[in-house]
Amino acid sequence: MSLSPELRTLLRRMWRSKLAMIGLVLVGFVIAFSLLLPLLMPFDPVQMNVRNALQPPGGAHLLGTDHFGRDLLTRLAYGGIISLQVGFAVTILSVVVGVGLGALSGFVGGATDAVIMRLMDALMAFPGLLLAIALVAVFGGTMGAIVLALTIVGVPRFARVVRATVMQRKEADYVLAAVALGKRPWKILVQDILPNCSGPIIVQATLKFPGAILGEAGLSFLGLGLPPPAPSWGRMLQESRAFMEVAPGAAILSGLAIFITVLGFNLLGDGIRDILDPRAKHARS
């Protein structure tokens, strides 16, 4: 499967978009920070040292320590791994399931379409985080449960976008040509239609990623994420909030970590959308 024209246009235009590049730099920084730092830091993210608690930045602990005397920088980096894991897992799963359902719905139509779409409507009727809270409360606070919950929340949007695009592309001349040639419907869908839907899917995926990270942070802030002592950013923010007055570092830094990551992915997503969305393009020029 070769790169679709849209994907090639995207990559070329990315270089020219300031927003997308800033986003890309931030995302790159977060990924490098989370993946490389744990290899370099000498500290254990869960090892407590109570007599060394709430140290200010500087010295052996570059960013100081939290209320249990754990190194903040190390915890932030390990927290980044958790966030990225959730982000990637949720996005990939949402894409796979959402695109599958959406394509089926849009391509087959009829009763299949109606059933799938009403199901998606029902899921979308719930506020996202609320549904995720309910699901995690049922499944328990494990990585799998969190990913599953956020995926269930994320799938409907993909399904809708893909369904609409597939229905549009279904009428295109190249599809009609393929049908006339007697190509099998499933081959048409996979080989001709879906590659031409990649634009909206990519945009949706880049927007889903920060949403998933924010969702995980929100869940763990509310105490529903990974159980302690996992260094999830949301939990770190929640735990250190009580110490804002005496040691603001931990709360500010964990909040900043969430902020930078989400901002980075949002800028990247926005940039890509601006490039791919014809309406936005007209509005700008």
Binding site: V50, H67, P227, P229, A242, V246
Partner: protein
């Protein structure tokens, strides 16, 4: 030790500084607003059905018992101005104070005492004091001012169980036909005005209160402010006049700052954290595993991390000033012995356990987890909703729970509640059931001599120190803060504030 001394000295200074202001003449009027560190000010408004410390405080403004504690935790007469005990210890005769009025204007008589005690004894009421008073055989009204309580057998803790709002005297007309109470009426310094669950509790001054002069303020509003930061802001901005529980992490800087803008009181505290182990199933049915946990804990570190040195470490709830103080050795962390014990119990290559806690005690649970994992356990944490967790604890379906409990006046109140199978707090001791302990406690109840009782409780204590179903982790300090214009707010020796000589009835506002 040196540090503790210094802290006590500083705490005394704070109190003394306020003491100088007490010389002023109390003034009437004003509304006292209190920020309570909880999501609910009280868990109900029925004085006989009490759940939790906040509820005791809130309802003890409304209802009062025949007896009370003074600031030094001695039992003193209250609604009964005197009492006598028959030689065989079976009959307690209470002579009531004259001219005590209920909030509805009617005078309290002996018949009301009989009604109240019988209501507590009625299982339908759901009083948590029922077990403590079950020993009552019958209540006889001699005349309007004298009531006799006959016991089935001599029961030394009886007087302690008659203290305070737990055994409040209430008028029968305040109870609905279905046995519930929706508008509590008592003899206390404040009248009930309004309460919605999770919202403010509003109390008004009772003008006909039987004690002279008090109370001074026109009304008291208790408002729930569970968030630490929000509660401090409320005090600093004057939204509330008094708060319970100042966050421990703020204490070092607040203590050092004379211009902090409010009064601060730090008392040793009576609330203790514990690690309850399920003694009814593996692995904690094996006493060696429980002992291993006990010896794996670094209590000093727990106390430091959670109270910043303002709490204290102890393995019993009675302080040095109490007659019930037991002879004890504080368990010290000994990781070598822990591995031996685990090895003997067949868990040499690590032991998987689950620690559960509600979010309030999650930090304690994390520290316990960390310390146990250092010692060779493999502990994981589950955060649980309290209602569901308590239910599972009652059905013995858990490994370990980190929780908290408070002070008990009489050793029977503590030991029988926790360490006998019928005790209402037995689930806090992991379903602990030791016939030897049950027998000793039964015996101690029938003795009236405190020295003899103490010897038996020492045996119970020693057995429990060996069996450690729910080792005490540390004691959290009791902290309160109030603005300068709140005067004469006094607490007892341990920081409590619903006793005879302490509390809201003596408070007045200098504004």
């Amino acid at each position: 030790m040196k540090r503790t001394g210094l802290l006590t000295a500083t705490a005394l200074c704070v109190t003394l500084a306020s003491g100088a202001l007490w010389a002023d003449e109390p003034r009437r009027g004003g509304t006292l607003t209190i920020g309570v560190s909880s999501t609910t000010v009280t868990n109900g408004i029925d004085p006989h059905v009490i759940l939790g410390d906040n509820t005791v405080w809130a309802l003890s403004q409304i209802g009062e018992g025949l007896l009370h504690f003074d600031a030094n935790m001695n039992i003193v007469p209250w609604l009964a101005h005197s009492y006598s005990i028959s030689d065989d210890g079976l009959v307690y005769t209470f002579e009531l104070e004259q001219g005590v009025k209920f909030h509805n204007g009617r005078e309290m008589v002996a018949e009301d005492v009989k009604f109240s005690l019988e209501r507590i004894l009625d299982p339908e009421t759901g009083s948590r004091r029922r077990q403590n008073l079950e020993i009552i055989d019958r209540i006889e009204v001699v005349d309007d001012q004298i009531v006799e309580v006959h016991l089935q057998s001599a029961f030394a803790p009886f007087l302690a169980n008659m203290v305070g709002v737990w055994a409040a005297v209430i008028p029968p007309e305040s109870v609905n036909d279905d046995g519930t109470i929706t508008h509590p009426v008592g003899t206390g310094p404040f009248r009930f005005n309004n309460y919605d669950m999770g919202e403010n509790l509003t109390l008004d001054r009772f003008d006909d209160y039987w004690r002279e002069d008090v109370p001074y303020v026109d009304s008291v509003v208790m408002t729930p402010v569970s968030d630490d930061a929000a509660r401090m802001v409320a005090l600093r901005t004057g939204a509330v006049d008094l708060i319970t529980s100042v966050p421990a992490q703020l204490l070092p800087s607040l203590m050092a700052n004379d211009d902090r803008g409010f009064e601060l009181l730090i008392s040793p505290g009576t609330s203790w954290r514990m690690a309850t182990m399920n003694t009814t199933r593996a692995p904690f049915d094996d006493v060696r595993v429980r002992q291993a946990v006990d010896l794996a804990l670094d209590r000093e570190e727990l106390m430091l991390a959670r109270t910043f040195g303002f709490g204290h470490v102890d393995n019993q709830i009675w302080d040095e000033g109490s007659v019930w103080r037991m002879e004890a050795n504080l368990p010290q962390r000994d990781l070598g012995r822990v591995s031996e014990l685990l090895e003997e119990a067949g868990h040499g290559d690590g032991l998987d356990i689950t620690i559960e806690a509600r979010s309030l005690y999650l930090d304690d649970a994390q520290l316990v987890q960390s310390q146990l994992n250092e010692a060779g356990f493999n502990a994981s944490i589950v955060v649980s909703d309290w209602a569901a967790l308590a239910e599972r604890m009652r059905s013995n379906n858990f490994d370990m729970v980190v929780a908290a409990a408070g002070w008990y006046a009489d050793p029977d109140g503590r030991y029988a509640r926790f360490y006998t199978p019928e005790g209402p707090a037995n689930f806090y001791a992991g379903g602990y059931d030791n016939p030897e302990v049950t027998e000793l406690l039964d015996e101690a109840r029938r003795l009236n001599d405190n020295d003899q009782r103490r010897a038996l409780y020492q045996q119970v204590f020693d057995t429990l120190q060996h069996d450690v179903p729910n080792p005490i982790l540390y004691f959290a300090p009791n902290t309160m803060a109030w603005s300068h214009d709140v005067r004469d707010f006094r607490t007892d020796r341990q920081g409590g504030f619903s006793n005879a000589e302490t509390g809201l009835k003596y408070v007045w506002l200098d504004r």
